[in-house]
């Protein structure tokens, strides 16, 4: 029996899917923001922390980068549960992607830090700026330029990774909403095709905005 496309039901549920897309964007943005903070700490721990700190950072970075993101989310959802820490599927997904982002970005930032010459720090310190101010006003802004492109990629990756939430039963994000509609209507191709288009759009809009922002930020 041939499959006949029926787009009408998808169009009807488009508002629902757009709400899902918003949740997707929210998780990705949060995971990116929190992941960035941890990534900087991990990079600093590897750079200037003692042996123990550096080793702990290594475990995080190595695990995040060398195991499937799917497993990371799974292990957080079920693993923490078995320790008596019940996490809902939204938090498990958020934690999983944050963990993954931090691992990848830590390596990016490590490279970013070495892109800023030591002499810049020296010049700043010689003017009487303390360590934190030197970091904030001199090192971080220059590092941001070096890592901006990689961060944009990570954000797109992070948006797409949110689709893994479906494996821990998340129903509110774009993939979750789509899957819910799919099991009710069996219009699998139509729903997932439209969802894919939405993922593409979100990613593209983000990439283009980031490019515009970069051209404003890095005029030097």
């Amino acid at each position: 029996m041939a499959y006949t496309f029926q787009w009408r039901p998808v169009l009807h549920s488009l508002p629902e899917m757009l709400w899902g897309a918003l949740v997707t964007l929210e998780i990705a943005a949060l995971a990116m923001a929190i992941g960035t903070v941890f990534a900087i700490l991990l990079a600093l721990a590897k750079r200037s922390g003692g042996k123990t700190l550096s080793a702990l950072a290594d475990i995080w970075i190595e695990t995040a980068r060398n195991t499937p993101a799917l497993f990371q989310i799974y292990l957080i959802y079920f693993g923490l549960g078995s320790f008596g820490l019940r996490v809902d599927s939204y938090s498990a997904l958020l934690l999983g992607i944050t963990f993954n982002n931090a691992g990848y970005l830590a390596e990016t930032f490590r490279g970013g830090f070495s892109a800023v010459p030591e002499t810049q720090t020296r010049a700043a310190r010689s003017l009487g700026l303390g360590q934190i101010r030197t970091m904030w006003h001199i090192v971080l802004p220059q590092m941001l330029r070096a890592v901006f492109h990689a961060m944009t990629n990570q954000m797109v990756w992070s948006i797409l990774m949110t689709s893994l939430g479906v494996v821990v039963g998340l129903t509110s994000d774009l993939t979750g909403v789509t899957q819910q509609l799919n099991v009710v209507t069996y219009r699998t191709f139509e729903y997932f095709f439209v969802a894919a288009c939405l993922y593409y759009l979100i990613s593209k809009i983000f990439t283009i905005s980031a490019r515009l922002l970069a051209s404003r930020l890095f005029r030097y």
Partner: protein, 240 residues
């Protein structure tokens, strides 16, 4: 006054400063000359605590630079330094480069800091480049900006570490002119340099460094016209 007393400095197994003693009075211009690796740049870095020392002491106006209790950030407000590689902050405009420390270290308001920066940049002849990014400037202009950046903190002392060594020959003059101007204004300066004519012209005293020690110290006339040590004479013959 800067008082350097029997300073020793090691980089690992390398003994770079072997008992340097020297006093620099307020208003004095002292040049440090000598071959590369003779310790003169390292000596400069020790004066504002960018490098530590292993023995001896350095004090600036009675404050021990290397004492644990010394607030180096506070001390550095009074000691400006300009490096061989000018180290402009590339992400800030010329004006912002000079405004940063007065604002963040001295706590000046934006208007005050801007007024200081405009004045200092005008002083070194960069009044037209305020909104430019350093990448648009020549090496000589970037170096003059670095001088203005240090002067904006109204330091009591200025240290210059081979500030013309990385410049194209035709740009050396403009930077030396700026240094001449400062010496005429009575700034206390320690100048590490390979420009012998300049050292002779502006210095009150010249210190010849050799193998981590001050081999000879005297007025420019003494050092350049009648050096007492054979090493000094050899060095001068090789560079003049």
């Amino acid at each position: 006054m800067i008082e350097i007393d029997n300073v020793h400095k090691h980089f690992g197994t390398l003994h770079v400063l072997k008992g340097v003693s020297l006093n620099v009075k307020k208003g004095e211009v002292l040049s440090m000359i000598g071959g590369s690796g003779s310790g003169k740049s390292t000596m400069l870095m020790c004066i504002n605590g960018l490098e530590g020392i292993q023995k001896g002491s350095i004090s600036v106006d009675g404050i021990d630079v290397h004492a644990k209790a010394t607030d180096l950030n506070k001390l550095r407000r009074r000691i400006g330094i300009v490096f061989q590689q000018w180290n402009a902050f590339p992400h800030l405009t010329v004006l912002e480069n000079v405004m940063l420390a007065p604002r963040k270290v001295l706590g000046k308001s934006k208007q005050e800091a801007e007024a200081i920066a405009v004045q200092q940049l005008g002083h070194v002849g960069l009044g037209e480049k305020l909104r430019a990014f350093p990448s648009r400037l020549s090496g000589g202009q970037q170096q003059r900006m670095a001088i203005a950046r240090a002067l904006a903190m109204s330091p009591d002392y200025m240290l210059f570490d081979e500030v013309t060594s990385a410049l194209d020959p035709q740009l050396v003059g403009e930077v030396l002119d700026t240094l001449r101007m400062l010496s005429k204004e009575g700034m206390t300066m320690i100048v590490v340099t390979h420009e012998m004519r300049f050292a002779r012209e502006v210095s009150d005293r010249v210190a010849f460094f050799c193998q981590g020690q001050i081999h000879e110290l005297g007025t420019p006339e003494q050092i350049f016209d009648s050096p007492q040590k054979p090493e000094t004479a050899d060095f001068l013959r090789s560079v003049l």
